[in-house]
Symmetry: C2
Subunit: 425 residues, 2 copies
């Protein structure tokens, strides 16, 4: 096996929702009520919704086209972005250039947990907008290339009955995953342990979907010093996956829903062997705390393994201990278009790391696509011949199409894109 | 090398301060003002201080003599405890029986960070009590067996000038370590990043002492769900060491004090390779955040290695990746008399784990004593011939002395001890 023979399915990338996302998915009477992009006097594109200027979708979230010196939190305009951030046709070309067959995408403006809609005052409009987001994400974005995207939706967190309804609605049209919060109790919602989310979790199980918990959403679970630099958030975000796992594993959730599948998106894998050592030693040593049947006669690590998919961009230490984690738990991700992405050298980056860790061909296939496809019940070869799915085949296609992966300054993107009518309202 | 050839120096054990601890260390006028033990109507020994009943020092903190079925948070009496918890002569016998040459001890009633005195209203009495604690811990407990204990003190957190003074006072009599808080900002103190503690840290460096940060004290750094079981605290405590390291490493502390030595007591080691991967990738990838000289031309992991001693009871995954951590950073601990201790089978437990990880003899010596002794500047052979320092030699001494390591029910301890006048006021 060579690098070009790899098949890459990334279970964590991001869409920058385009300004016209709602066009095909909102009845006429709501057209003016859903979020819309407004360019302000400083030339910054902002999403306006119910009197709020919602999250500027740029800066750190869409740096993929820029030189590192231009990264930062400065907001900007759509036209400054590499178009693959928001245009699905361009995205697929960027996936080709990076040798990536399949991708699961998370929202940006909408928030990992539909925050923008959950925080809105008018819940009728919020629900219309959320459903329109899902229709766009599933039918339009992923639906344009069902051979390339694993469809994912979000749910109305403000009403668990509505959440159940939305899980069933998107499940019916083939959605494979629901993006949710790592630690809902930190944002003022009931915790996973509370039982509040059980009807939703039950519906997700019924639909054979995955609960995807992306890092970052739960960052406030750590009380950091007021002087902490931004590095804290960026470095420690992965540590929170262990805290999330603890809530699910030592609360009733995983044991109560034997079919529940949870992906810890961007959570890394290197923390898992240490966590397994700790929970299994704790469980066997502190036997006064637990009856033998608390975990169904299993060790906590065994229950974890039955439910969790762990996912990494780069994780050399974790790969060395893959046998202690369980080779079937590991998935890979690209994180396009965030700063942590390895695009457009993901194959080189991943191949080197997998080789350095001494992974066999069989292990590489499990990590780079097999585990993800099994977990999300997504058949990568339903519409693609296997020989067309490899890094080499996809990159050849990108070369033939002349995809340019050069990083360019924001100002240059802006000039080029606006001249071509790209990223302008 | 065989198991009996190991030399064990544990840098994390605990004293249950005995009722008579203040007797030799408080001037007559303060005798009635310092904490004292009072047995209540339920037969529970409580420390009374300034109208407060301070932490009951038993339950989970002193289970070493009991069967697992009797572990728990129930308070009790001194007479229910294995006397090695509070009697230094018995403690040394228990160390012999477990093959342990040297030990660094943390306070219980006083609190890792002198909490009992810091929270007291009358700060004059608090300071008298704190100094008496230090004199007892250093001169009486450790001083009775300078060949067996690495002396450690605590400091008055309520006044940084007094803290500096106390560091110098205990430094002058050979104290090797100061026990402090992992995440002081969580308890309402200024954070490590604030600069507030700099004079104290500077004094600790001057005295060539170690700043020992024990897990548990900073647990509230994690906002856990209200429904979280006690397992959360016990499992996740080690995860906080990464958060503590982050505060010290990405704040100015470690770089500002090139001579500062920090021991992450009971923090485990398995999280470190993952943390190193993360911080070094973050640092090199997010170059816009840091000038090249921010870490003196070094990687964050290199700065960590220059300052930190990491410490474990059991950590099979971490040991497998010892080369990625740095063999000189690793120390071992026994955690007597807490529930997590491996007493009285620590040599068997550690030997198996070290062998399973494929450690060489040289690596075993570094992990079990050399690193700790170098870091704390404590010469294990100053008063002990090397051939008398081994597991085999110490256990032979315990056998000759007839030390009984049998676990016994609390009621049985109480009966036996009280009949012998042990653990009664």
């Amino acid at each position: 096996m060579q690098m070009d023979d790899m098949i890459l399915v990334s279970i964590d990338d991001h869409m920058i929702e385009p300004p016209d996302m709602f066009e095909n998915h909102v009845p006429e009477k709501w057209k003016d009520s859903v979020p819309r992009v407004v360019r302000n006097d400083a030339g910054v594109d902002e999403w306006h919704f119910q009197g709020e200027k919602t999250s500027t979708p740029f800066g750190m979230a869409a740096t993929v086209g820029w030189p590192k010196s231009e990264w930062g939190f400065n907001p900007g305009s759509y036209s400054e972005l590499r178009p693959g951030c928001f245009d699905v046709h361009e995205r697929v070309k960027d996936m080709d250039a990076n040798g990536i067959l399949g991708s699961l995408n998370f929202p940006t403006m909408a928030g990992f947990n539909a925050r923008t809609f959950t925080e809105a005052g008018d819940k009728e409009v919020a629900l219309v907008s959320l459903r329109a987001y899902n229709d766009w994400a599933i039918d339009e974005w992923a639906g344009s290339y069902p051979d390339r995207f694993i469809p994912q939706g979000i749910i109305p967190m403000w009403d668990v009955d509505l959440a159940v309804e939305e899980v069933r609605r998107v499940g019916a049209k083939g959605c494979r995953s629901i993006s949710f919060l790592e630690t809902p109790h930190v944002q003022g919602f009931p915790s996973f342990l509370s039982g509040h989310w059980d009807p939703m979790l039950s519906a997700i199980c019924d639909e054979n979907m995955v609960l995807s918990l992306h890092i970052g959403a739960g960052f406030e679970v750590i009380r950091r010093p007021q002087e902490a630099p931004i590095d804290h958030l960026m470095v420690l975000a992965c540590q929170i996956s262990a805290i999330t796992a603890q809530d699910l594993l030592f609360g009733p959730t995983l044991r109560q829903f034997p079919d529940l599948k949870v992906a810890l998106s961007e959570g890394g894998i290197g923390w898992i062997p240490f966590y397994f050592d700790r929970i299994d030693r704790h469980f066997t040593n502190q036997e006064w705390l637990h009856g033998g049947e608390d975990f169904g006669g299993k060790l906590p690590s065994e229950v974890f393994r039955e439910h969790i998919l762990a996912c990494f961009i780069t994780d050399p230490s974790g790969l060395l201990l893959r046998d202690r984690i369980g080779i079937d738990l590991l998935a890979w991700e690209c994180d396009y278009p965030h700063t942590d992405t390895t695009w457009p050298e993901s194959p080189e980056f991943a191949w080197k790391e997998l080789q350095d860790a001494g992974c066999t061909d069989e292990e590489i296939h499990k990590i780079t696509w097999e585990n993800a496809c099994r977990f999300f019940s997504w058949d990568p070869f339903a519409r693609t011949a296997r020989e067309d799915a490899t890094v080499g085949a996809l990159r050849a296609r990108a070369t033939a199409a002349g995809v340019d992966v050069t990083r360019k300054p924001r100002a240059e993107w802006k000039q080029e894109n606006e001249a071509a009518g790209i990223g302008v309202a």
